[in-house]
Amino acid sequence: MNGSGQVQLSGSVNEVWEALLDPAVLAQCMPGCEELEHTGEHRYRARLVVGVAAVKGSYSATMELVDVQPYQSYRLRIHGEGGPGFVDAEGLVQLQCTAEGTALHYTYTADVGGKVAAVGQRMLGGVAKLLVGDFFRRLQKAVDRQVQANRSAHLPAGG
């Protein structure tokens, strides 16, 4: 399974980049994320609860950011395992400055195995799109909050 897409985020490249690398923001944005632990530079361990068709279950996942080009791009590798099977995914995220803010372009490939493949494969593409869309919607909110916070912080005290 693979996919790609582009989202337009309001916020500078810097703001988006900071949000993407902030474990607290990631934990908020990742659908079904019940725990996220920062285990090293660009490394995370997470517990995710995700449902694909009738196959709902908990996955323990490791995530790693590689080829990190600050404020430009990174590769994300995810390996998740759980009762319903496993997921091996790799994505490429690239940021670009635009007039409206930041354009984020992504591509991903994923292999799944076990029950989730045998029963859910018909739904997988749709579910993946849904999860990715959900992630970016939440990310936008997080970036908005960040931008708001930054602007408040820079207001002159006492006016």
Binding site: S58, D111, V112, G113, A117, A118, R122
Partner: protein, 809 residues
């Protein structure tokens, strides 16, 4: 007139339709029954680095967790018919080789607890490269499944009969083509179920299961458990919810649960769920066939060459590689060709292991053979029906010995084909097809003529060994089935036999046989089905497979019933003071022929045998009971020249089918289907019709819908009925049935099997019909199933092959 041959309604149905059937899941044979759930590998090929069970074991209600390493301490690998260093255990020991392979078993006080505990077992896998395609698996670069082997090729033999080289030089046209047959499932309504109990005081395993044989597998299980046969008691409940061969493959789970019971020290019950069943029970063999067929200009088939590559999945497990040899005696089908060569290969890949499935080996064999008959007609500019007819074995040639050793016992193939052509109005449709083409519609007519072997000779499996290897071992032959008929002190009759029915209606036919023999009503006969390997007669060949009830099992019942009949007649002759041959059994009495007032009731005769042995003729044993073992002397071991009579009877099926194909969508619509069977004497036409319609539904599924699809990483993508499409009654086309009865001269009842023929014929007939419909578009049909997407792609591929100017036009 007797009851045999009458369309008697099934005696089984009263209990089945009123919810009183007794299936494996209904059984609670022991107290303290615990429940098992199986952890299965999500990887198709991986090394198991570690399994951590501590969290699962700590859960309330969990009794034990058993891993492959635990189980292997009490097991030897299952034996298999050919020597190959690819040990097969019922649970992965250090490596998994297919997605769904058992890795651990949890035993708990309820199924819920056991299922939940699976998630607490932590398995560390090291994924390995995967191969699922049998031809790719043969390449030297392919990932190797078994460390003990140099390659994934686990079996290879070549056979030559007559002089194929000469036959091909005599041919005017040679058709060469590669065909692929998909991996399919039998999908019975009821899944696998096992209850196992190890009794340490007797060192005995007792296993209840919906297993139906072949009982060759009892020896295989006993060998794996390392016990003598009498310490493995196998019990099968009265009712089994369908199998179509599939449930012979429950045997690894019977052994697994037996060992799990031993380790957990409690009786264990496991009932498979549907997802497990589709993923990891037992499936059909996907096959690649390279076929070469030589024809003279007039359509005469001169010679055949075939190369089979069978994909047996991750392990070569018994009875494989028998799929390669089930049709060996009928390699040349219904045709008179004498010169034939075959190369048979079996390959392991990272797919679910294979086993018996309705038509075992037949659909794979008939699809390429029947396709080349039609392709030859097209190539030679002849009518397809004429090419088939020209090559059919003539009625006067029976019994007919095939080049590979099959002895076709009886038949009238030409008449059956003529009947099929007439019933479908072949000539009329050829005319209408031409008109439809002119109007831009694509109608097609497909034919298939297949020989349907029934009643397997155990000897055919030994073809997997070379003549020299066979020479060293005990020869294998025979097809024996056992039956007992007993009259109790009240004069009522019980029948017991070893065919282990799975829903076919054996009880009804057995009652008809006994009723006719003893002059009583079928409803008065109590037929006891199921199996208890400790208390009833059975043989290594026993079981429900290879359509062996009609040609063998029913005859065992017949023999036992006639031994009882003889004894009753002797007793009656003594009581009435007349010779036995003056007597007949009718209406519950032994009576003097044409003097019905001189009679004695069966009740009185039985009473005498039980209550008053002193009144019996001198030397006669008390009791009225007979056990017969029925075998046919034509079931011989393979000869040194590799000929074998693989089955004892051979029926015939001629199918003619009419389809319309929509070239825009690729949809195939079946407009009419005619199937004519010559299966010898029909024992019960109602049951025969049910078997034929069921077989046709299976064949239609394989032709149009069904395939177990795996991705390149070995993941099964059709793991539910959302994606694995079985035809339902709504998909069945109108079907016209007809029969010709050429009784088998070999058996008292003269009947042959008929439930597997349409699984062999329908995929070929439908493929021929679709190819015929799309002939103006030069579409090649060489793989199944013919889903709309597959047909559409074949049409696009044909367009790509056409010269550009034609396409522009």
């Amino acid at each position: 007139m007797g009851y045999l041959g009458q369309p008697l309604a099934r005696l089984e149905d009263a209990r089945l339709t009123s919810g009183q059937g007794r299936f494996i899941d209904d059984l609670r044979p022991l107290p303290n029954l615990h429940h098992a759930a199986i952890l299965r590998s999500p990887y198709a090929h991986a090394r198991i680095r570690s399994i951590r069970c501590d969290q699962a074991l700590a859960l309330p209600g969990v009794r034990a967790v058993v891993t492959g390493a635990d189980a292997a301490r009490w097991l030897k690998p299952f034996p298999v018919g050919v020597k190959v260093a690819a040990p097969y255990y019922p649970i992965a020991v250090d490596k998994v080789r297919y997605a769904g392979e058992p890795v651990a078993v949890v035993v708990a006080d309820s199924r819920y607890t056991a299922e939940d505990a699976l998630a607490s077992i932590v398995v560390e896998y090291e994924p390995l490269p995967v191969v699922v395609d049998p031809e790719l698996a043969l390449s030297p670069e392919a990932p190797r499944l078994h460390e003990g082997l140099d390659s994934n090729l686990v079996h290879q033999r070549t056979f030559s009969y007559g002089d194929a080289a000469r036959a091909f030089t005599e041919a005017d046209v040679v058709i060469r083509h590669r065909f692929t047959f998909p991996k399919v499932h039998a999908t019975p309504l009821e899944t696998y179920g096992v209850i196992a109990h190890y009794q340490s005081s007797e060192d005995t395993y007792t296993v209840w299961s919906n297993f139906h044989g072949p009982f060759t597998l009892h020896s295989v299980m006993a060998a794996a458990l390392q016990v003598p046969g009498n310490r493995l008691r196998v019990l099968v409940p009265q009712d089994v919810g369908g199998s179509y061969g599939n449930k012979s493959g429950v045997y690894p789970y019977m052994v697994l649960m037996a060992v799990v019971s031993r380790l957990a020290k409690v009786p264990v019950k496991w009932v498979e769920d549907r997802q497990e069943h589709l993923l990891a029970s037992s499936t059909g063999t996907d096959r690649v066939t390279w076929i070469e067929a030589g024809f003279r200009r007039d359509g005469t088939l001169t010679g055949l060459r075939m190369r089979y590559i069978d994909n047996v999945g991750a392990y070569l497990r018994a009875p494989e590689p028998a799929c390669l040899y089930r049709m060996h005696a009928a390699l040349t089908g219904p045709y008179r060709v004498r010169d034939v060569e075959v190369e048979a290969l079996a390959v392991v890949t990272n797919k679910c292991p294979t086993g018996l499935i309705r038509g075992y080996g037949g659909p794979q064999h008939c699809f390429p053979l029947e396709r080349v008959m039609q392709m030859a007609a097209q190539e030679l500019g002849l009518d397809a029906a004429e090419v088939v007819r020209r090559n059919l074995i003539r009625a006067c040639e029976f019994p007919y010995t095939t080049p590979s050793g099959g002895v076709y016992d009886s038949g009238d193939y030409e008449q059956a084909l003529a009947r099929a052509l007439e019933r479908i109005d072949y000539a009329g449709w050829r005319q209408r097809q031409a008109e439809a083409r002119a109007a831009g519609r694509y109608l097609g007519i497909g034919l298939a003529c297949v020989v349907e072997p029934s009643g397997s000779n155990m000897g055919y499996i030994a073809l997997a060994q070379t003549p020299a290897e066979r020479e060293r071992g005990l020869p294998k032959s025979g097809c024996a089935e056992a039956a007992s008929v007993t009259v109790d002190p009240t004069g009522s009759v019980c029948v017991r036999f070893s065919t282990v029915p799975t829903g076919q209606g054996h009880e009804t036919v057995a009652a008809q046989v006994v009723a006719d023999a003893l002059g009583i009503a079928p409803a008065a006969v109590r037929v006891i089905t199921g199996m208890d390997s400790w208390t009833q007669p059975w043989t290594v060949a026993s079981g429900s497979y290879s359509s062996r009830f009609a040609p063998i099992g029913a005859n065992a019942v017949y023999r036992a019933a006639h031994q009882v009949r003889e004894k009753l007649l002797q007793m009656a002759a003594h009581a009435l003071g007349v010779p036995a041959d003056a007597l007949e059994l009718r209406g519950g009495y032994a009576q003097v022929r044409e003097q019905p007032d001189r009679r004695v009731s069966l009740q009185r005769l039985a009473g005498m045998a039980h209550w008053h042995p002193a009144g019996l003729p001198a030397g006669m044993e008390p009791g009225v009971s007979a056990t017969a073992f029925f075998n046919l002397p034509t079931a011989q071991a393979p000869a040194a020249d590799d000929t074998v009579n693989g089955s004892v009877t051979y029926g015939f099926v001629a199918d003619a089918v009419l389809v319309e194909v929509d070239p825009e969508t690729g949809r195939v619509q079946v407009l009419d289907y005619v199937t004519v069977h010559d299966a010898g004497r029909l024992l019960n036409p109602l049951l025969a019709e049910g078997q034929i319609r069921g077989g046709l539904a299976c064949g239609l599924g394989q032709a149009l819908y069904e395939e177990l699809v795996y991705d390149a990483t070995g993941q099964l993508l059709t793991g539910s009925f959302m994606d694995y499409l079985c035809p339902t009654s709504a998909e069945l086309p109108p079907v016209q049935l007809d029969h010709i009865e050429s009784p088998s001269p070999l058996t008292p009842l003269g009947a042959k099997g008929l439930g597997e023929g349409n699984v062999m014929s329908a995929p070929a007939a439908l493929a021929n019909a679709v190819a015929d419909a799309l002939e103006p578009l030069h579409v090649v049909i060489d793989k199944l199933p013919l889903t709309p997407a597959a047909v559409w792609q074949a049409i696009q591929a044909a367009k790509q092959r056409q010269p550009v100017e034609e396409r522009v036009g």
